[in-house]
């Protein structure tokens, strides 16, 4: 086979390639945003803080927010484990897991499986958040009881720490939790039909080895950053210039839609 090439033909093909690529990308965006959104969450800065970029993107004049999700870990474990990601669930998600009598080398090999793509259910201000809030309060009660029994400096420091944690949970920490995973988005939606408190997003789960056991973890969400539309940029741009990291009380709230392709976008943003 021989290549026949002419500049005129090459220019036509290249132009068509650029046009079609842009059309496909923008068509996908239009499809995602068409019809009723898959879910509509009312989030605050606690759940969508400003995303700061490092070089080479630190001169980016666009402002992005980050979906600040959390997971409820098992309370008693030395190593944090996601309790709802059971061995059966992991197998359903496609992971190979070692037998109970597997050698440490085998376990290591299984734990090194690359992350798998799944759908995740994001819960806003629901049972998961209440669990974490209640845990913080219970820790404070325990610390206060211990301090009342013997008033040492250490016990006092424990109470101060527990109180700060309760305050953080009540006023600053994110209330957005990953609560379930499935390979089928519809199955996940059927389990969590409340579209104002549960969003279905694409994400990844992977494994790590801790305390000689294989533990699953949420590796990330596919669309973790959300761009602030031009019309709302002026509202949050001063905060973006501050570059202050860490949790803080909310200064703005936004309505975030998740579309047919589970991709988010901001439809409304206002200062609180």
């Amino acid at each position: 086979m021989k290549l026949a090439w002419s500049n005129a033909r090459a220019l036509t093909v290249a132009t068509a390639l650029v046009a079609v690529s842009n059309a496909v990308a923008l068509g996908g965006v239009a499809y995602n945003r068409s019809g009723e959104p898959d879910s509509v969450l009312q989030l605050t800065e606690r759940e969508i803080p400003i995303q700061y970029s490092s070089w080479p993107d630190n001169e980016n004049s666009a402002v992005h927010l980050r979906l600040n999700w959390r997971v409820v870990f098992g309370e008693d474990d030395t190593f944090p484990t996601v309790e709802w990601l059971t061995r059966d669930r992991l197998r359903q998600l496609g992971f190979d897991l070692p037998a109970a009598d597997a050698t440490p080398d085998d376990r290591l090999r299984f734990a090194r499986q690359p992350a798998r793509e799944v759908f995740l259910a994001l819960e806003y201000d629901g049972a998961a958040y209440q669990t974490m809030l209640e845990r913080a309060r219970a820790r404070l009660r325990t610390a206060e009881a211990a301090l009342a029994a013997s008033g040492s400096e250490e016990k006092l420091a424990n109470v101060r720490g527990a109180r700060a944690q309760v305050e953080s949970e009540e006023r600053r920490s994110s209330r957005l939790f990953v609560v379930a995973a499935d390979l089928d988005a519809d199955a996940l939606r059927a389990r969590y039909p409340d579209r104002k408190h549960y969003a279905i997003v694409r994400g990844r789960i992977d494994l790590w080895i801790g305390s000689d056991a294989i533990n699953p973890q949420i590796d990330g969400i596919a669309t973790e950053t959300i761009r602030v539309p031009y019309v709302y940029r002026a509202l949050v741009e001063p905060y973006a210039r501050e570059r202050s990291y860490g949790e803080r009380e909310s200064r703005y709230a936004a309505t975030v839609n998740f579309g047919r392709r589970h991709e988010p976008w901001i439809v409304q943003l206002a200062r609180i």
């Binding site: 290549l3 090459a10 220019l11 650029v18 842009n22 980016n60 004049s61 690359p114 793509e117 988010p264």
Partner: protein, 357 residues
């Protein structure tokens, strides 16, 4: 202007230069004597040829011109990288200040505008240096175009972007005889094919590198391209395909030969490492043999490099800890001598074959 025949014109000009040197030697050694008329006819013919090539294609007529051309190629490459970076930072710094419709328009216009400019420059630039520079900027603008649309509209990252980038890079590479863009296109193809293969087993596409075997289909595909499509008019293109194919084959094999747990194979890590160590030797030796037979110098050299790497890696595993260091390096040195002797025999055999043709 047909850019493809510039390579052929340059090759002919190089042949003429070599011919003149050898003719001068033969005449000095009185092996061959041309009459004045013959001498004038040959010189006139060559001058006419070189003059027409220079006028049409701005070829390098002598070694000095060739060295200056190399300098221009390097400057062209650095200029393209700098201009592409400039475009990126220009967008980054100001585009947040524009409404969405204007951002989209600017992105698409930058892709189409630089593409059009590249072809216009290509028509007016017989040397091709400015056209090549413009082509690289056009490719950078297109990469920026697609990736920034993804950022703007929070689109789920997809490996499919690689295939359209590969298509444009290859198209510009073939049109403007640009090996750098062909390499960029090949890298995009490797990323796309390997990611696709990775997703077949449920792995999230961006982690395709964690299973080195994902790269093997891309290696086979790249090696097959110059076998199926003649690249005689594109200097160095076929070699580039083969080199990238072999890198895509041998680098993952090298990883698997040391870290067997990254494999798909359902065996123990040690067994997998042994399999790939043996395969590394066998395949690199086969590649050297194929390269010698087909007279692909690039293939022979790549095969040799990896054969030596596989060999020295094993030497290190076997002996680094247990023998004195002077013995270890002595073994390495003796192996190199043995290797030279083997290659010498291969070369002699090839020369005999050449002589009998």
């Amino acid at each position: 202007m047909n850019e493809l025949s510039r390579t052929e014109a340059q090759r002919r000009a190089d042949d003429i230069r070599v011919f003149r040197h050898e003719l001068a030697r033969l005449q000095a050694e009185q092996v061959l004597t041309l009459t004045d008329e013959q001498q004038r006819a040959v010189t006139r013919h060559h001058e006419v040829l070189l003059g027409s090539y220079t006028a049409a294609y701005d070829i390098d007529r002598d070694q000095q011109a060739q060295q200056l051309s190399l300098g221009m190629r390097i400057a062209s490459f650095l200029g393209a990288v700098a201009l592409a970076a400039s475009v990126f930072f220009l967008f980054s710094q100001y585009w947040g200040l524009f409404p969405t419709w204007l951002q989209v328009t600017l992105l698409v216009a930058s892709s189409l505008g630089t593409l059009l400019a590249t072809f216009l420059i290509g028509r007016r630039d017989p040397t091709g240096y400015f056209a090549k520079l413009a082509a690289m900027v056009a490719f950078a603008c297109f990469v920026l175009n697609i990736s920034m649309l993804g950022q703007m509209f929070n689109i789920t990252p997809s490996d499919k972007a690689f295939i359209v980038w590969a298509a444009l890079a290859s198209l510009l590479a073939y049109t403007f005889d640009l090996r750098l863009l062909l390499a960029a296109g090949i890298l995009c193809v490797i990323a796309f094919v390997s990611a696709r293969v990775g997703t077949w087993s449920g792995v999230y596409w961006i982690y395709f590198g964690e299973r080195p075997e994902n790269f093997f289909p891309a290696a086979a595909l790249l090696f097959g391209v110059p076998l199926l499509v003649s690249h005689a008019k594109f200097q160095g293109f076929a070699a580039l395909y083969r080199i990238f194919a072999l890198l895509t084959l041998f680098l993952p094999m090298l990883v698997l030969a040391d870290w067997g747990w990254t494999s798909y194979l359902p065996f123990s890590s040690e067994a997998i490492e042994r399999i790939y160590q043996v395969l590394g030797f066998v395949v690199s030796a086969a590649v050297i043999r194929l390269g010698v037979r087909r007279e692909w110098r690039d293939t022979v050299n790549t095969g040799i490099v990896f054969f030596v790497i596989f060999l020295y890696t094993k030497f290190y595993d076997w002996w680094w800890e247990i023998v004195p260091k002077f013995v270890f390096f002595l073994i390495i040195g003796l192996t190199s001598i043995l290797f030279i002797l083997v290659m010498k025999r291969l070369r002699a055999a090839a020369q005999v074959r050449e002589g009998t043709r």
